[in-house]
Amino acid sequence: MEKTILEIEDEIVDEFSFFESWQDKYEYIIELGKKLKGYPEDKQTSDYKVKGCQSSVWLVTDDEEGRIIFKADSDSTIVKGLIALLIRVLNDRTPDEILDAKLEFIAKTGLQQHLAQTRANGLAAMIKQMKMYALAYKAKQLN
């Protein structure tokens, strides 16, 4: 049976608890970032950009049978790693699941306090964008 968003979030929190220092946690995030691939090259344009102050984030969405598919990229490897985590949680889900997701893993892993969703990493903007896409798809579905 498919895992719920909460179950995946718990998995992530668990994985992070294995690392003692923030240096190690970031090395893990960087590893995830380096592995994140599949973003369509032709879509690395300003149309798909979610602007942060210091890192650029690109996001495209698609829907397959009422579930939303996200693909994202960034010029910061750490942000890519965070994107990889977000996609793991929110990808291939229904609009409602995405809108309801509280994304508590960000706080529980300590990422919230450590990274702060400042302009610096564009993360807050990306989460907002993903939820807005979900809202837009939901509205489309209802019509």
Binding site: Q23, E27, Q54, A120
Partner: protein, 415 residues
Amino acid sequence: MQDTLTNKIFDVDEVRKDFPILSREIEGKPLVYLDNAATSQKPESVINAISDYYSNFNANIHRGVYSISIKASEAYENAKIKVKEFINAGSEREIVFTRGATEAINLIAYSYGLENVNAGDEIIISEMEHHANIVPWQVLCEKKNAVLKVIPVNNNGELLIDEYKKLLSEKTKIVAVCQISNTLGTINPVKEIVRLAKEKNKDIAVVIDGAQAIHHTNVDVREMGADFYVFSSHKMYGPMGIGVLYGRAELLEAMPPYQTGGDMISSVSFKGTTYNDIPMKFEAGTPNVEGAVGLTAAIDYINAIGFDDIHRQETELLEYATEQLDLIKGLRIIGTAKEKTGVISFVVEGLNALDIGILLDTNGVAVRTGQHCTEPLMERFGIPGTVRVSFAFYNTKAEIDVFINALKKTIEILK
């Protein structure tokens, strides 16, 4: 190496003891604070001065007839005198306390600018300016249909003075330039910039942004010839929330008020309101008295060390760090002016500045990453951002070693 004022020999380890935050640890590692261009750390004497103010003589100023109000008023006025002496202004009437350099520039643009700049007039700034010394002028130009001209910068991050000369015209009303660049560390020839402007037309108002200079070098506004000079307390070991606008008395007297309300008035009635004399005309509302007290203590602290020792220490740090950074493969320093202060921006090929900054933090090393509020400059150099280290006299070569080692480790992880 003896300081002339106190005959103390400069010992960085002793000096560091004056700064409580420098003994902090970040996740078990000592804090290596290399972001002094963003804000400086505070010595105990500044912290205590503020604490003492609130514990012993906090009161609203200029109006109370009781002893602590008189004491607070005196402290505030003394702060003005202290600042006047610090920058060798002609009179304390020429010292306006603002929230900081940014507000000071806004005040000039609003109060002097709106009054004196007309359609078709020109304002000259430079490519290396901080947004605080760009946006107020853009807004002024928009409001008055004036033209913004920009002095270009060469690949070393130096202002092209020949180009500046060409930009000066009969239409120039204001020239606004930083004394030192917060991103590049470049020290600009401000005396020359003033001279050239005044040669063209003595009525051109020259605004010098001293935010990054005030704590690195002895500033003499009369020798410089600037019409306006601005800086913030928090960059010079003083508290946040207070800054200085120096303006020549003749100019300030002619300028209309910026913000209105209490304190800046002479009398108020519904038939008409008259304004106070300078500098009070520009200080509406209850001022930041704790800030003034803290700033006084900061000036005292700097004077006790002396700019000779400050400059010597910072130059050593700049040279040492530059040497070490030059050895790292793929690293390029942005800002290689002949005259520089202890600010080094750099990029590492193929790596993102934000990633570098975040990983350095896990080693206790605090640097700044990004565009440093100088987006046009980043565009000119064709880069999305830099990592910036900036030194104060309380930094050490050992700290630079920690930073360099952490940087090398970081580069390995990210590659």
